[in-house]
């Protein structure tokens, strides 16, 4: 029965109307071609060629034919496509032979026609087309197509090099590396088998040199006649994790080739195909596993099934039923709840879930110590802390909470079941030390020390505990043990020296100088030359205290100050020591001759700040009094000639020591030399406004510009810091100095109008007016905790309605707040005659009273 022709999806284009010019039709044909409307383009070009002949139209028609043939080939209409190619061929020289045409001919087994096409291309001289056609024929020649040789001249490279190419294939399949190399040597660079040679070389290197294989394969272009082989070889190199996704998009022959290269046997390939056919959702994987449970192992399948359903409970329980798997036991349910809690990352939930699972395990039977069951229970009891770092977090804060106490107690119990995990003793010992439960800390670390007397971690933790409890004798013993095992353990040595010095200072404060001296002797023994200066400084104060502020004490202090250079470094060192041993700072500095000491130049400044940095690195702080005492000396040193790096280092150290006045001086000096340098703009701004809630508009503008410059320079740290500042200070309207008209409020006489309560006395209005006068507008806004939007609105009212309007608007807000506090209503004052206005005092200069005392002019 003759197949009924389907109606065409588009109406057949009719001949161009007579009114359409040739140019219009040619333009439309070009547009159709560009848009991939090949049928329409074919019709238009054919119409044009009926009216005349032009090379462009012939080329256009050839292109449209090729496009249409491609469409038909993609749809599997190969014969129809071939008809179109034949039509194209009729166009003569306008249609050069195409490798795609040859490919189609070869797919249809028409080797003779394909070789004819190749021969037809040769006199035309299109080298690229000839090479592409030649490679197509070469691939088919290699594949054993007998028709290729028949249609070619005996001296054609496809035949001449084909012998070596076939020999190379045979040698590769036989695993004969020597023969393969010899055969490949017979294929020259300019050969239709060039890509073939690259692929065989890559295949040889797949296992041993995968990167080299990849490089070779990358030389084979996407349009190559050998591209399928390249794809298969590449697939063989894909990591295991990506293989499934890549195999899904590959054809069967390519996949099979790749999988053989990867060592996949027939069974594995069949299982793969089975699995991919049904899809790889958890349910389907569960069914596959259960179907093969005898080979996979019952326990493995059970464990895998629990993990497959755990992520989607309780809905996923039905998957178990569908696959024929038994429902989870109570213990398994508790275990799955633990996994879910781990995913949720909530410490409370994690502790609850795993402690519940431990209870379930513990309730089954008392596990025998040393058994898997006992170890399993211990691991579960410890897991919550391992997962959520509960003891570490609580320990770092120094305060015990309910959750960490529960976790610590459970972990402590776990040692009954598994006493061999050093890490648990250390974690518990450290935690209890940090929360200052020294008895418990001693209990766990003592037990650990008994079990592992030579363990450096246990010894170090025990040393820390001994130092924390001022058990210096014990600490000495532990430090000796550590140094016996690890003679270059500087950490242990340094900690011990520091502890002895700290203890000596404590004795000095208690005026027990003999005991302090003993401590320093110990420190000298452990510290050696590196600690000498610190020890001698403390020792000097023993003399000072011993001399009871006599001339001898003054002499000792002056000696020390002189030894330290008599400048900034000396002031800092003696000042810190005075604070540490409880001596009056001002007196000590005066006695040492440092009360009005000047800096000793660049070296003195840098040495002073290095010392301060070391002090801060040790987790200690600079006393407020000492900081205040040093600021003046440091500020005077800001004029010193420093490199940009040194100046930045100085600013950073001063920042850490909260010495902001000095920092501002250094940053300002640096900005004079390195104008607009973002890092110094940051220091200048932050030093000036630390602790403030507003900043001047022009200063905010400066750091906005600095931010842009830092971004351009790629200075990410400064970018981040400046962004933080801008976020903190918000928009310019936060500044009371950003509005010149606010100076009006500086003069109380300007508020005289508010005194006119004869006619409309309003106590809240008076309160508001007084608040505005005394606090300034922004101070009042900040006190009221207004958000930026509301502040903007009040500023607008002020601009539009003047002070009266503003006070009226604020009155409503403040009135509500006052009423909310339940304050009594203000009594109306008696009517009195309005006093005469006093003479107007001179206006205060801007920023005089409202500037905080620590905020100097920045630039």
């Amino acid at each position: 029965m003759k197949k009924q022709r389907k109606p065409l999806p588009f109406p057949k284009p009719t001949a161009a109307p007579s009114i359409e010019s040739v140019e219009d039709t040619a333009g439309a044909a070009r547009r159709d071609l560009q848009a991939g409307r090949f049928r329409e383009a074919i019709n238009r070009y054919k119409d044009l060629l009926k009216q005349g002949d032009a090379p462009d139209w012939r080329h256009g028609l050839a292109e449209a034919y090729a496009g249409r043939a491609g469409e038909l080939t993609e749809k599997g209409m190969l014969k129809e496509a071939l008809v179109i190619w034949d039509n194209r061929r009729q166009l003569g020289e306008a249609a050069s032979p195409s490798p795609v045409h040859a490919d189609l001919l070869l797919r249809l087994g028409q080797s003779a026609a394909a070789t004819a096409l190749y021969r037809q291309a040769q006199p035309l001289g299109d080298e690229a087309a000839i090479a592409a056609l030649g490679a197509k024929l070469a691939a088919h020649f290699l594949a054993g197509d007998p028709g290729i040789a028949e249609g070619l001249a005996p001296d054609d490279p496809i035949l001449v090099h084909g012998t070596a190419a076939r020999a190379a294939l045979a040698a590769y399949c036989a695993g004969d590396a020597q023969a393969l190399a010899a055969s490949l040597a017979g294929i020259p660079f300019r050969s239709p088998y060039r890509d073939w040679a690259q692929i065989l070389k890559a295949l040889q290197r797949l296992s041993e040199q995968p990167e080299a294989a990849k490089t070779l394969l990358a030389r084979v272009a996407d349009g190559s006649a050998f591209v399928n082989l390249r794809r298969a070889a590449e697939l063989a190199l894909v990591p295991e994790a990506d293989l499934a996704a890549r195999l899904t998009g590959a054809g069967e022959a390519v996949s099979r080739f790749a999988l053989i290269l990867r060592g996949w046997g027939d069974e594995r390939q069949a299982l793969w195909q089975e699995a991919t056919r049904v899809g790889s959702s958890p349910q389907r994987l569960l069914r596959l596993m259960y179907r093969h449970r005898a080979r996979l192992g019952e326990d493995w399948v059970r464990q895998g099934a629990l993990r497959l359903v755990a992520g989607d409970l309780p809905r996923s329980l039905s998957w178990l039923q569908e696959a024929g798997v038994k429902r989870p036991t109570p213990a398994e349910t508790a275990l799955m709840a633990g996994w879910q809690a781990d995913q949720a990352r909530s410490p409370g939930r994690i502790v609850g879930a795993w402690h519940h699972y431990a209870d379930v395990l513990g309730a089954e039977a008392e596990p025998v110590r040393g058994s898997d069951a006992a170890l399993r229970l211990a691991l579960v009891q410890r897991h919550a802390d391992r997962q959520a770092f509960i003891l570490q977090s609580a320990g770092a804060s120094g305060e015990a909470g309910e959750l960490d106490q529960v976790v610590a107690a459970t972990m402590g119990r776990s040692l009954i079941h598994d006493p061999d995990d050093t890490d648990i003793y250390l974690r518990l010992g450290t935690y209890y030390r940090q929360i200052k439960d020294f008895k418990e800390a001693r209990h766990f670390l003592g037990a650990a020390l008994t079990r592992w007397p030579d363990d450096l971690q246990v010894l170090t933790a025990s040393l820390d505990l001994a130092l924390a409890t001022n058990a210096f004798k014990k600490a000495t013993g532990l430090a000796r043990s550590i140094l016996d095992l690890d003679p270059i353990n500087t950490g242990a040595r340094e900690r011990l020296v520091k502890a002895h010095i700290a203890h000596a200072r404590k004795q000095i404060r208690a005026l027990r100088t003999d005991l302090a001296m003993k401590e320093l002797d110990q420190a000298r023994e452990w510290g050696g030359e590196a600690a000498r200066e610190r020890i001698e400084l403390t020792a000097a104060f023993i003399s000072v205290v011993g001399a009871r502020r006599s001339d001898r004490g003054t002499e000792v202090l002056r000696e020390q100050a002189e030894r330290l250079g008599g400048g900034l470094r000396a002031s800092l060192a003696l000042g810190m020591e005075a604070v540490a041993v409880g001596q009056p700072l001002t007196l000590v500095l005066r006695q040492a001759g440092l009360a009005k000491a000047k800096h000793g130049g660049r070296e003195d400044l840098l040495a002073c700040l290095a010392r301060l940095r070391t002090h801060l690195d040790g987790g200690e702080r600079l006393s407020r009094d000492l900081g205040a005492s040093l600021q003046g000396q440091l500020k005077a040193a800001a004029s010193l000639d420093l490199s940009a790096q040194e100046a930045e280092g100085v600013c950073e150290t001063l920042r850490r020591g909260a010495l902001d006045e000095a920092r501002l001086a250094f940053a300002t000096a640096a900005l004079r030399r390195w104008r607009g340098a973002p890092r110094f703009e940051f220091h200048a701004f932050e030093a000036r406004y630390r602790g403030a809630r507003w900043a001047k508009d022009n200063d905010l503008d400066r750091i906005t510009s600095a931010l842009e410059r830092a971004q351009e320079e790629g200075d990410n740290r400064t970018v981040h810091r400046l962004e933080e500042l801008l976020r903190e200070f918000g928009a310019p309207f936060f500044s009371p100095h950003g509005f010149d008209d606010l100076d009006d409020f500086d003069d109380p006489d300007d508020l005289d109008d508010f005194d006119d309560f004869d006619d409309d006395f309003d106590p809240i209005r008076i309160v508001v007016a007084n608040l505005v006068q005394s606090m300034g507008l922004d101070g009042l806004f900040n006190m009221l905790g207004l958000d930026p939007k509301l502040k903007r609105q009040f500023q607008e009212i002020k601009r539009e309605q003047g002070t009266d309007g503003l006070v009226d608007a604020l009155k409503v807000l403040i009135g509500e707040k006052l009423n909310g506090l339940g304050l009594p209503t203000l009594p109306r004052p008696p009517r009195t005659p309005k006093p005469p206005k006093p003479s107007k005092p001179k206006k205060k200069t801007r920023g005089s009273d409202e500037d905080p005392p620590d905020q100097m002019d920045l630039f």
Binding site: V254, F257, I260, A275, M289, D299, Q303, G304
Partner: protein
């Protein structure tokens, strides 16, 4: 599950010595310069099941579900790389995808 036993090629009841031996053999076969991914997988697997405590912890706390690859590895593990025959070459040379 990212089954470390499969990665190391040892049974689930393997002891410390067997696991250590399998690890050494694995990294000798797949040194990091030759196959960094395989080397890393071997190292991770070894760390996961090195001791008895590790093995029990892995069984308890590793909640990652099994993959199709793992199921295949257990049922029909991949063997040594092989060479496709001439017929398969011919199919690809003829343009069969």
């Amino acid at each position: 599950m990212n089954d470390p036993y499969l990665v190391l090629g040892v049974p689930p009841d393997a002891d410390d010595a067997a696991i250590h031996a399998a690890y050494l053999a694995g990294i000798k076969r797949y040194p990091p310069d030759r196959d960094p991914q395989r080397f890393e997988a071997l190292r991770t697997a070894y760390e996961a099941v090195r001791t008895r405590r590790d093995r029990l912890a892995h069984a308890l706390f590793d909640a990652s579900p099994p993959t199709l690859g793992e199921v295949l590895d257990k049922l029909a593990p991949a063997g040594e790389a092989r060479r496709p025959d001439a017929a398969l070459f011919a199919a690809l040379l003829k343009g069969t995808p």
